[in-house]
């Protein structure tokens, strides 16, 4: 009898103890959740509510985490664009100011009569070139902003890549001749059907060639088009200064410039734009380079199904 009473007493005690623990745990958990939610509400999207898998409140906590995470991901994408725009704005002031100041330097010299005769003509020509480069830069900038605000829609179409490439390259021949760059195009005579947006394709190719012309100091450029494994492959290779290995992996990043501070207008945006456009067209762009030997850019696009 005594033993029974004792057992009953112990059981009752344990039950009370258990109830107290559960209540306390639940209270604490709710307090923790509220604390975390207040933090999230104040803008900290990285806060998570932790719960043990077998807790009663675990599904609730996990669900909240998932919602917060999905919002946070969207916010993060927005923040990234914002950050890039901010950086662009800061570097813009510098990228425009230096070439513009230099341009003014030339024009001032002409206006004040510091130079005369052929040198004067020379100066005017330089000023012209510099202002055109600035205009190109502003154009690129505009593209870039459009791309980043997702206003740049690519219209995929089945196009004849060989003919398209030829048309683009023809416009460059005078530039090459003017700068005494030897060129070598190997584009097969037969047609290549590829899925492309011709406008975007032209931009990519132009940006790559522009990059060679302005930055590589090359005196030879080769552009070839061929088909390999159901893909159209375009290679733009030069024998110029090349790109240092540590720079090579960053060249397609936004705003990456191998050397900052230059009086030549150069945005560091051209390759980034080429990269983004290629991605939009389901293509691939890669770069290989050896310093002082030259650089090879390779573009690959899916060929159109016959």
């Amino acid at each position: 009898m005594n033993l029974l009473c004792f057992l009953l007493f112990v059981t009752a005690l344990l039950a009370v103890l258990y109830a107290v623990t559960v209540t306390r745990d639940t209270k604490r958990q709710i307090a923790e959740m509220l604390d975390a939610l207040a933090d999230i509400k104040s803008g900290n999207g990285n806060r998570r509510i932790l719960a043990k898998t077998r807790d009663r409140a675990a599904p609730l906590a996990y669900e909240i985490n998932e919602i917060v995470l999905s919002y946070e991901n969207r916010l993060a994408a927005l923040r990234r664009t914002e950050e890039a725009n901010k950086r662009l704005m800061t570097s813009l002031s510098h990228d425009v100011r230096t070439p513009l100041t230099t341009l003014i330097g030339y024009l001032d010299a002409v206006e004040k009569g510091v130079v005369t005769g052929t040198e004067r003509d020379d100066y005017i020509e330089i000023a012209c070139r510099k202002s055109r480069a600035l205009k190109d830069y502003v154009d690129v900038l505009f593209d870039w902003f459009k791309l980043n605000s997702n206003e740049f829609a690519v219209k995929m179409d089945t196009v004849e890549a060989a003919e398209l490439t030829r048309t683009i390259l023809i416009d460059w021949i005078p530039v090459f001749e003017d700068r005494q760059i030897e060129y070598d195009f190997s584009i097969p005579g037969r047609p290549f059907a590829a899925r492309l947006d011709p406008d975007a394709y032209a931009r990519i190719l132009n940006n790559l060639i522009q990059n060679v012309v302005t930055h590589s100091r090359a005196d030879n450029i080769r552009i070839s088009l061929r088909e390999s494994e159901n893909r159209v492959e375009v290679r733009v290779s030069d024998n110029g200064a090349g790109i240092k290995t540590q720079d090579l992996k960053h060249i397609f990043e936004r705003l990456y410039k191998c050397d900052s501070g230059s009086s030549e207008a150069g945005s560091g945006l051209g390759l980034s734009i080429a990269y983004q456009l290629t991605e939009k067209m389901n293509g691939k762009i890669t770069a290989e380079s050896e310093p002082e030997k030259g650089t090879v850019f390779t573009l690959m696009f899916p060929a159109a199904a016959e």
């Binding site: 990285n46 998570r48 932790l50 996990y62 985490n65 230096t98 050397d259 501070g261």
Partner: protein, 307 residues
């Protein structure tokens, strides 16, 4: 609310007569990678242990998210993921079992947290291999998995690249960068290798013999450490034209109407100043600035260098 995730106030730790950390004041901003650079034994690990409450400071205080760590451990520590010194796990258990123990004690943010963490560090989840049979690199990976399992806001990683192969190091570096840029996590990382920190961090603190020598953003350090010649002249437009015409130089940046930086320190300053003068420019100032990062660290740590 200020933006410091970690702030220490005169943090000090003495062992017997020796001082491991002295009057350390560091400030770690939200969403940044903060590199703690110092030689072995400089006090990096001790600092991190104090930040995590593993070691009690002799003096000073640690603030995490503006709250003192002392007395708030219960609320603050679950928001941190950490990796301190060598990975510590139970050798008779598999990776998943080890993580399960810590998950049962701390809780996780989702039902698949353990699998995700293991997948993330590329350790097989259903592996029967015991922790004792793991290679050093795999152990390190598991430790990283433990640190990120609960998706913490702040990561405190003590030499996380130890024991990893070059491919693994590149992977982890990319991942940390992505955590910080993409998800806005804050990361404190320590290393004795300058290049490691230079590749990864946004902010750098250099400590030597327990003393904070410098705390600066990497961009500022790099800016400062880039060699250039600074000119203050009466007309930057003319200066720019002269540099281009007379010296064939394009590597310069115009700061405003009278300040200009030339990133080509090999050119003779006196010659440039003379040519500027010949062209009717007034030169108020011209001096060479900057030193390489390595030189900088060597100088402030007292000559012996870091790595």
């Amino acid at each position: 609310m200020n933006n410091y995730v970690i702030e220490t106030k005169n943090l000090t730790k003495t062992y017997g007569v020796g001082t491991s950390v002295a009057d350390l004041n560091i400030h770690i901003r939200r969403g940044r990678i903060y590199g703690l650079l110092g030689r072995n034994g400089a006090g990096k690990t001790t600092t991190m242990k104090m930040l995590l409450g593993l070691t009690r400071p002799t003096a000073g205080e640690v603030f995490l998210w503006d709250k003192p760590l002392r007395g708030n451990k219960r609320n603050l520590l679950p928001r941190i993921g950490s990796l301190i010194e060598a990975p510590g796990f139970y050798p008779n258990l598999t990776a998943a079992e080890n993580l399960r123990i810590f998950a049962a004690l701390r809780g996780v943010p989702g039902p698949r947290a353990i699998e995700n963490a293991l997948e993330f560090v590329r350790l097989p989840c259903r592996d029967k291999k015991l922790f004792s049979q793991y290679s050093l690199g795999m152990k390190q990976r598991l430790a990283i998995a433990l640190a990120i399992m609960h998706d913490p806001e702040l990561l405190i990683l003590d030499e996380p690249m130890n024991g990893l192969d070059p491919v693994g190091i590149a992977e982890i570096r990319l991942f940390l960068r992505q955590l910080c840029d993409g998800k806005g996590k804050t990361i404190l990382i320590s290393s004795h290798i300058l290049s490691e920190i230079a590749l990864l961090a946004d902010d750098v603190a250099i400590i030597d013999k327990g003393v904070l020598l410098e705390e600066e953003s990497l961009a500022a350090l790099e800016q400062r450490s880039r060699k250039y010649i600074h000119f203050a002249v009466s007309d930057t437009a003319q200066a720019a034209r002269i540099l281009e015409r007379e010296f064939g130089e394009t590597q310069f940046a115009v700061e405003d109407d009278c300040n200009l930086r030339l990133y080509h320190p090999e050119l003779s300053v006196t010659k440039i100043v003379r040519v500027f003068g010949e062209n009717g420019l007034e030169v108020f100032e011209a001096h060479t600035c900057g030193e390489s990062l390595e030189d900088h660290f060597k100088r402030i740590t007292g000559g012996e260098g870091i790595a």
